[in-house]
Symmetry: C2
Subunit: 192 residues, 2 copies
């Protein structure tokens, strides 16, 4: 019997991570998010910042890495992807859990009994939220969102060949801005 | 205060119409589906079959109409679209309701307080369901589904300029094959 896992993909600023943590709390199961990055840091020797950033760059676009060149074989991003694949598979084998981001829905498709969720929200809601949660930056919130959206979509498509944000890829998609964070938590937990 | 309306867009064979009817029943509000076609028949003089079929053809692709030529001004499909727009707006003004299909989410975006839902399901589930509900046809169920999916997506994009099945267009999308018809009804009704 495969473990039951809730995977949460999310637009930047939609509150997907908060929703994942609250669902896990309600269900009394672990929620993995930063833990995945910590495991990858241990396994690869890259810094946490590098691991975190690389998860949103497709190979070839991650200019900070001088060794990211497919002429020489695997890129750093490919190596990270392999470790991400291994870490997520192992976490899902440990027991029921919630996993936020990192293409877990794709990685686990034949390895766990997944409930695949996508959380999104309108630009206004997300812009307010990223300023509240992460503070102001030089770039405007809208520019930061557009930038992140583009990167996540490209990364997702490169490694999974699936269209980011396309309803048919998920069992459930929710607009957290309209429905509210707590309502989203309630719906997801009720489906477990 | 605008009326509260639930709009349900759905893939052919996903059970979206059944879900709409059950939600309306639970909430004690009307569900409009075939009623929209009847109203359009009354207003336009076209046959019910023509009205129904035209709702899945984009102008120019509906070959059965010899008069559908933009060189001569409005096509039959454009005329039907205008009536559809009017009928759906009037129904939403009457009071709270569920409206299935016919781009109601787009038509009502500024006219009602909408909960916008999209129902989809995997090919296998839908293929089994259309044979159960509509019986066998000469075309295989999979061909019928691919054909309908393509037409609905093209129609939707032509008149609304929105991507069909894209999570961001809806407040909630549900895979009825995995979650089950009754679970979908429960979630939607709980959000009203």
């Amino acid at each position: 019997m495969k473990n039951r896992v809730i995977t949460i993909s999310r637009e930047f600023g939609s509150g997907g991570r908060t929703i994942g943590k609250k669902v896990a709390e309600q269900l009394g199961i672990p929620c993995y998010d930063a833990e995945i990055i910590q495991e990858m840091v241990k396994e690869t020797g890259f810094t946490p910042e590098y691991v975190k950033e690389a998860g949103e760059y497709t190979p070839g676009s991650f200019l900070s890495s001088a060794f990211s060149n497919r002429l020489f074989g695997l890129t750093n991003e490919d190596i990270l992807w392999e470790h991400q694949y291994k870490v997520i598979t192992e976490l899902a084998q440990k027991g029921p859990c919630v996993i936020v981001g990192r293409c877990a829905d794709y990685i686990l498709q034949d390895k766990a009994d997944c409930l695949k969720v996508f959380i999104h929200a309108d630009m206004d809601f997300r812009a307010r939220r990223i300023v509240e949660v992460y503070g102001e930056r030089e770039q405007s919130p809208e520019e930061r969102l557009r930038d992140k959206d583009k990167r996540r979509a490209a990364y997702h498509r490169f490694y999974t060949d699936m269209k980011w944000g396309y309803a048919q890829n998920y069992h459930l998609t929710l607009n957290s801005g309209v429905l509210g964070i707590d309502q989203c938590v309630k719906i997801i937990a009720s489906l477990y």
